[in-house]
Amino acid sequence: MMMRHSRKIQLSLCLALLLAAAACRGNVANNTAGTAGVRVTDVTLGRSVGGDKAITDRTDTFKPSDTIYASVATEGSAPSATLRAKWSFEDGQLVDESTRTIAPNNRERTEFHISKPDGWPAGKYKVEVFLNDQSADTKSFDVRGS
């Protein structure tokens, strides 16, 4: 009787393990499909970019006359991916929103920049970067009067 009972427990344990393993495999498969093989690895801010679209003058405090650059590093390959930069002011006002469609191949960099001819109002800002319409990273920065 005891033996029969313990065999039942062993059997149900095995079943539970098998089910858990199957569930894990399902998750991994879903994640890969969800990101389509591309991910944002880094977002940096600064006043200028080089030919490789990486920031050359990195800062998170700008002057009103500055052009503000956000350099977005991506990793992975896909025939097409959409990057979007949403810039907003401290009161929630939308400053700008730009979209760029890329065909990433391994490591790539994409820069977004904004400028304002009559100067940026002083205050706190943020830029949120979306990859295929999913938020990937957010960076905050300040503009301080000259």
């Binding site: 679209k53 002011f89 006002q93 400053v95 730009s98 760029r100 890329i102 065909a103 960099r109 820069e111």
Partner: protein
């Protein structure tokens, strides 16, 4: 007795002072002194752009950049219309040639029905040169 007096001085008096201050501020505000509100910032003339090390996606990719711009780098910028703007003015600004205004019109067909009528605040897609 001395200890009680010290306690009152240390704990109760500052509390009372704080409360008085709060009441004072409340009354002061209550008498209609307007709180100074920061004027809303104007971002209508913000200019933006982007560039990438990545290749442009194949032509079939959903780039809202049809017509004469096909085959360009695929770079696209956005521009918010300000008072006094016209499509040809914007074309002059971005392409250096006012005659290229139909390129902007084509890219914004969804929101520009009449190319002679654009409104301040409209956000336009500016296809790459």
């Amino acid at each position: 007795m001395l200890a009680l007096r010290r306690y009152l001085r240390q704990a109760v008096f500052p509390l009372r002072a704080c409360m008085e201050k709060e009441i004072h501020v409340g009354i002061f505000d209550g008498f209609g002194k307007k709180k100074e509100e920061k004027p809303k910032a104007d971002f209508s003339n913000v200019q933006s752009g982007s560039s990438t090390t990545s290749a442009a996606p194949p032509a079939a990719a959903p780039v809202p950049n049809p017509g004469p711009t096909a085959g360009t780098t695929g770079s696209e910028q956005s521009y918010v219309v300000v008072a006094g703007d016209s499509l040809s003015k914007i074309a002059k600004r971005f392409y250096g040639d006012a005659n290229k205004w139909p390129r902007i019109h084509e890219a914004n067909r969804d929101q520009i029905k009449n190319p002679d009528l654009i409104h301040p605040g409209q956000k336009l897609r500016i296809p790459g040169a």
